[in-house]
């Protein structure tokens, strides 16, 4: 049985001290897929897969299904690019982003590309996605996933996300799925609990604040941005949103989807946040039996 460090456990307890939270943190994660409607209709894949697997529709995503398979990567549908393995809660940010055909969309931290391919799918391969990542070593997996999914409307860029502020008032939609401590993904990989350090939380929080200001600046007036992390930590979530609200005229819009969630933090570590952070979507693993996620929809 894996045990968390004292410091990490203490921090987690301040976020959620319920037995269910700790129980689900170490529970195996359900596998899920998203049907790639750039290549095929949902019902056509579901019909065939249902002959071999038990599929359960993900309530908040029309193209998403839980599947009782541990070998998704070996399935014909995967090889042909008809399905994309994607954790159920990680489908939420793009649903909240609601990209449409012909839009100009920025995916600021795109690799490995699960959300980029989901964006392309909702845009019906029309318009343009700037799929950016800061690390050259992460571009190949992004390119490979865009290829397999048949995404033809993306430009792959290699930039520090903070430099996008120079594209002021440019994008219809911006997705900032920010680099984070990945604590929401502990169910997938316990290493995120092993490598957790408070100083990483602080450093990432500073970076996230820079990135969200850059993302907001390059958004068109009237445009929509989604900020998301797979971290539980309020320093990486509500505090970052509070920083955005304090420094811009941004407005938060509630993400209304058929799922359970936890109330957002209005204060943490002695800091009091803007009341609008109550509209943020905070998902703990026990809410919907998924990974942990934090999703916010921001209007400019």
């Amino acid at each position: 049985m894996f045990s968390f460090s004292e410091e990490f456990r203490e921090r987690l307890c301040r976020i959620d001290s319920s037995p269910e939270f700790f129980e689900y943190l170490t529970k195996p994660l359900r596998k899920s897929i998203r049907v790639n409607t750039l290549k095929i209709e949902v019902k056509e894949v579901v019909e065939r897969l249902s002959e071999y697997y038990r599929l359960e529709k993900i309530p908040w995503c029309d193209e998403g299904f839980f599947i009782d398979s541990d070998n998704i990567g070996r399935m014909m549908e995967y090889k042909l690019g008809l399905i994309f393995p994607q954790e159920a809660s990680s489908m939420i940010p793009v649903i909240a982003l609601n990209p449409e055909p012909e839009m100009l969309v920025l995916d600021m931290a795109a690799s490995p590309g699960a959300k980029t391919t989901q964006i392309a799918q909702y845009m019906q391969n029309r318009g343009c996605i700037i799929a950016n990542d800061v690390k050259r070593g992460r571009l190949n997996i992004l390119i490979s996933n865009l290829q397999r999914s048949g995404v033809i409307n993306a430009r792959i860029t290699l930039r520090d996300g903070r430099t996008f502020k120079k594209f002021e008032n440019t994008f219809d939609r911006v997705l900032l799925d920010a680099p984070c401590t990945n604590t929401g993904m502990i169910r997938k990989n316990l290493k995120y609990a092993r490598i957790w350090k408070k100083r990483d939380v602080d450093a990432l929080s500073r970076l996230q604040k820079d990135l969200i200001l850059s993302a907001y600046r390059c958004l068109k007036p009237g445009g929509l941005m989604v900020y998301s992390t797979c971290s539980f930590d309020p320093s990486e979530n509500e505090e970052v949103i509070d920083f955005l609200l304090s420094n811009t005229d941004a407005e938060i819009e509630k993400v209304d989807l058929p799922l359970k969630s936890h109330e957002s933090f209005t204060e943490f570590d002695g800091k009091v946040f803007d009341k609008s952070v109550r509209k943020c979507l905070r998902i703990h693993p026990q809410d919907n039996n998924t990974e942990g996620f934090f999703v916010v929809r921001v209007i400019k």
């Binding site: 290549k39 042909l80 690019g81 343009c128 048949g150 409307n153 993306a154 430009r155 594209f167």
Partner: protein, 130 residues
């Protein structure tokens, strides 16, 4: 002739397929398909591998086959369950067709092969075989 025009003509001749998509050549006659982007930004990469111009026609990738196959007027071979299974394992399949064809199984498009009058040679890349 420009690559764009050359691909448009090959698609029209081989598959009766008309398109407004854009094509570029990336060396060794490898063709990529993409859409225009209104933003002037330096990109590391854009477009996906669509196929390759061979001496005797256009050989499509799996993604190229998907783009073309759904509305192609000709050059599409429908296969049954057993043949589809063998094709996805990388086997050539018996058929009297000649030239490049798209393989279709129900609503699934299984890539492109080349017929020589007795069999269709399999071009499914190894990492995408089942």
């Amino acid at each position: 002739m420009s690559v764009q025009r050359e691909i448009e003509e090959l698609l029209q001749n081989q598959f009766g397929f008309k398109t407004e998509l854009l094509f570029k050549e990336m060396g060794k006659r490898r063709i990529y398909v993409y859409r225009e982007c209104p933003l002037d930004i330096q990109a590391q990469h854009y477009g996906i591998y669509f196929g390759r111009i061979e001496k005797d026609g256009l050989r499509l990738s799996i993604e190229g086959s998907y783009i073309v196959g759904r509305s192609a007027e000709r050059g599409v071979i429908e296969v049954n369950d057993d043949v589809a299974k063998r094709w996805m394992m990388g086997d050539d399949i018996e058929n009297d067709v000649k030239g490049y064809v798209i393989i279709k199984w129900g609503n699934y498009i299984l890539g492109c092969g080349k017929g020589n009058g007795t069999k269709i040679r399999n071009y499914i890349p190894k990492d995408r075989r089942v």
